[in-house]
Each structure stands twice: as C-alpha cells, then as structure tokens.
C-alpha cells in the first residue's frame, strides 16, 4: 500500500514537473507550477519529510505564483509600451494584447 502511494506521488510529480517545463506561456506555467508545489508537498509527506513538505507548501502555494504573476504584469506593460508606443492602449492592465 505504501509503495502504491509513493508511486502515485512520484508519477504526479514527474507529470507536473514535465508539464511545467513543456508549457511555454509564463502565466500558464505559473498555474502548473502551483500544482507542482502542492504535489511535491504530498511527495515529501509520503516520504516522511513533513518539515520539507511544509516549506514547499508555504512557498509554493501562494508566494511563488504571486512573484511570477507580478513579474509577468510588469514585463507585459513594458512590452506594450515598446510595441504600441504607450499611447492609447491601457497600460495598467496586463491582459489581452500582451506580446
């Protein structure tokens, strides 16, 4: 039973880690990364390392997505300025017409 649990957790980690590399768009990547964090925490718990799992949960569930999305937002605003000269388009809102 424990073997099945470890194999399940390992497969989930392998799947989400591969997906995190394969997905190219940073926004979607951050979503995959959030899931990878949770799955890694489960793997650490299964391998009886709750301290590491707790670190992973604390960092991966909210902090990493926040840092990534804030960076994406800033970069997209700059990209918009470079592409559209900054006029007219709504620079504050990162979405839609990003590069």
């Amino acid at each position: 039973m424990t073997e099945a649990l470890i194999v399940t957790a390992l497969l989930l980690v392998a799947g989400s880690a591969t997906a995190a590399v394969a997905v190219r768009d940073p926004v979607r990547q951050s979503l995959v990364l959030a899931v990878l964090g949770v799955v890694l925490a489960v793997l650490f718990t299964v391998l009886q390392a709750p301290d590491v799992a707790l670190s992973q949960l604390a960092v991966g569930s909210a902090l990493t997505p926040l840092l990534l999305l804030l960076t994406v937002r800033k970069v997209r605003r700059r990209g918009q300025r470079a592409a559209g000269g900054g006029g007219g388009s709504d620079g504050r809102r990162g979405g839609g017409s990003g590069p």
């Binding site: 649990l5 989930l12 997905v23 949770v38």
Partner: protein, 150 residues
Amino acid sequence: MNGWILAAVVVLAAGVGATLWGVVTGPLRRRAAAQNLSTALACPALLLLAQGYARPAYVDLALVLAVLGPVGTLVFARLLADELADDPPHARGPTLTAAALGAAVVLAVSLATGPGRALVKVLVVGALLVGGNLVASRALAGGMQEARRD
C-alpha cells in the same frame, strides 16, 4: 492494509491526477479552475495521510494548505482578472464535488479522532478548506470585483 492510506491513494490518483490533466490542457479558465481544485483535493489527501500514518502532527500540513491554498487561487483570480473576465471559469460541478469530498473526509477523520481538542482542530481545518475553496472558486468565476476593475 490501511484504509486511510488507500483512500489517500484514490484521492491523489483520481482527484489530483485529474486536476493535473486539467491544468496542463485546455483554455486558461479551465486551467485556473483546475489549480483551485488541486489544493481543494490535496488537503483532504493530507488529512487522510495524517490519519493513516497515525501522526497527529501531520495535520499541520493540511492546516497550512487549507489556509494558503485559497490564497494562491485568489492570487490568480486577482492578477488574471482581465484574462478571465471575458471567459470566466464556471466549474460548479467539480467545485461542489471537491467541497463535498473535503467535508466527507473531514467528517470521517473527526469520527476517528474522537472528542477532544484534536477534533476541533480537524473541524477548523475542514471549515477553512471548504469555505476557502468555495470563496476562491467564486472569485475565479468573476466574483472578484464588484463594478470596477483595477
């Protein structure tokens, strides 16, 4: 043989596995909803593991995930509000299923825990988990902002 561990394997393989598929494929709205569901399902799995290993200290993991998981979803709901506004994710069925599963797991674990402070702790985790994920999925589905956007 340990029924709790077996239940955790099922929740992880079927539930979290399905959300992993959801977060890797499809449009952005589906991915965001799947991310929310992944924490909503992993938290009951952690509770089941704590019970299965007979280690009450592991409940802290479920507690932290129940607190921070919905916060992570709110991060996406907040910073992707514009992308999601045109095409908001409505995942009522899966969300309610995950909430029901969480409630069922919390109920089973608290029945096994028996009365005492540990029981209240499990119930607190359950309330944070179910309430947080319902609020987070509502925020994803366009309930983040009132009239104006930021």
